[in-house]
Symmetry: C2
């Protein structure tokens, strides 16, 4: 899934260059490239399917030159994760009715790719043998994060266990309780299932959406697929796979994982994962901090900056746009950008 626009990282991410195509952490690879390489030990290149907005098709092919053009599915507009996944599922089914499928956002960070491959491998084995199982990767929480949804299981556990409940983003007190209890995981948004399991789930829990895609059944995998999608996609309900399917299912599992994961969804999470100078600043690019602490300074290559007298702030300069703000207020960025 690579269709997001990521306005929370303005000015680094913009409509024409969303987060999945950026190398925000300075690793030398964009998020989508790193995601592709993370799955490559498990999945041959010709089995990848990228769902993105039509506007980003060329960007995807530039970042993943191993893919052929017909491996990039184009949404005509944004419609949340359930329609995105339905689109890919129907496409995959037309090629490979028995597929085991891994669904992943294209803009997350994983630091231990060996452990990642092991966990995903275990999970795929499980969903191939248990052909009704819908599996979420659950991340063992390292802090009471309020920016993630949580997965509750029956008791403190390792390995693959049934999901008891999905919990929306909690407040800090609740998050602390979750972490202390031991039977809660972060919801990574990475899913594993067989084509059979997810197809049945769409039929059971999102029957209108299934009926809509069924009308194009004969078109998927043919030259008519795009035309069908362009006509019908806008009629899909705007709903996430979590709300539409996972919360309603009675055959859902999680696998407890600990492979150094973050969705890097905010400047604050970038701050958490970046290297810091002795004053606690995360600096990228040519910048001189003076009497400045606990701040993120992200300066475009070719530019230089002096930043003095700030604490717990963000200074980001990219693509002829500058943002200076308090890190605590970053949830407002999207609003400010609209005003600007």
């Amino acid at each position: 899934m690579a269709g997001g626009i990521g306005s929370r990282f303005w000015p680094l991410s913009k409509d024409n260059m969303p987060k999945q195509f950026l190398d925000i952490l300075g690793t030398g690879k964009s998020f989508i490239r790193a995601t592709f390489e993370r799955f490559l030990p498990l999945v041959p290149a010709e089995h990848f399917i990228v769902v993105t907005n039509a506007a980003y098709k060329q960007l995807v092919l530039e970042h993943l030159p191993e893919l052929k053009e017909d491996q990039v599915l184009c949404e005509p507009m944004r419609r949340n994760t359930a329609p995105c996944i339905a689109y890919a599922t129907y496409h995959i089914l037309s090629k490979s009715p028995e597929a085991a499928i891994a669904v992943t956002p294209a803009d997350h960070l994983v630091t231990n790719t060996v452990e990642f491959a092991r966990i995903i491998g275990c999970g795929l084995d499980y969903v191939e043998q248990n052909r009704n199982a819908l599996m979420t990767i659950g991340i063992r929480p390292s802090r009471p994060e309020t920016g993630y949804g949580y997965i509750e299981v029956e008791q403190e556990s390792t390995g693959i266990v049934p999901v008891k409940n999905f919990k929306e983003k909690p407040d800090l007190e609740t998050a602390k309780r979750f972490v202390a209890a031991g039977n809660f995981f972060w919801n990574s948004g990475i899913f594993l299932w067989s084509s059979n399991a997810i197809m049945n789930a769409f039929r059971n829990y999102l029957p209108d959406m299934a009926a809509l895609f069924d009308k194009g059944r004969a078109d998927f995998g043919t030259p008519n697929e795009q035309q069908f999608i362009n006509r019908q996609f806008e009629h899909c309900e705007n709903i996430s796979i979590d709300y539409g399917v996972m919360e309603r299912s009675d055959s859902r599992y999680t696998i407890a994982a600990d492979f150094g994961w973050s969705d890097i969804g905010t400047w604050g999470s970038l701050y958490t994962h970046a290297a810091h100078d002795p004053a606690g600043n995360a600096i990228s690019g040519r910048a001189l901090p003076v009497d400045t602490s606990n701040s993120v300074i992200n300066i475009e290559p070719g530019y230089q900056a002096i930043v003095e007298g700030l604490d717990h702030c963000l200074v980001a300069l990219r693509d002829k746009s500058l943002l200076v703000c308090r890190l605590d207020d970053e949830q407002q960025i999207k609003h400010w950008v609209e005003k600007l």
Copy 2:
């Protein structure tokens, strides 16, 4: 005098684009252009002489296309105001031994050019009739500014009066006392004198410098002038006209002026003279202030900025360089730039 490099306005001013060539206030004219136009009612274009660094000669001619190339005198290196004025004086003498001369920095602001022309006209009349007088324009102080030198006269007065003392930049208490006393003026750095008066002053108070320039007497005003300057200029003492001449003279006068003057020597003085939004911000360029007050935001055309959560700060973006700092700390800018 247009040879300064103005590092205090980094990143707007830089070695390759010093303050006199900038339009920091957004008036549509650079400081040097506005200075030229301010004197034009009094001085025909062909009588202007600009002394600048060799590196800025083309910039001067671009900003003042009315001038011929030989009206731009080029210093091979920076040597303060006394050598700069000596160079121009010897050049002028070679063309016009009886000239009355106005000396002015090229990077000041004047808001009432009618009153300016009246005052300068009065002063030039005086120095033409009193051919030993060295005259400084004294600005009636509107606030206890600690960033300027002061001129003390015998008693509260208008018109042209003898100077009692020059005072260096005072501390705030002293500045308040000066303003309350009424017989102190800001030293504008604008001088008026006859060629006879300034030549005698160099001979009397800076005899080594006069001797040095006398060696090239035959070269001034000829094609050999530049070669002479290139060889000899570095041997001049690095001294200001204030220390070298004015403080030592017994024939010095000031004329009390009130024509809306500022040297715009700091971001703080720019803040004072710019228009403010209701939150007290002085904004230039496309910038959205959010919960930001009493700050200077100066964004290069073609760029955009969001600035949130700052008070009494400076945000300046120009020429691929960004400065964010507290306005109170701007005296350190030069130091930071060296570190960067």
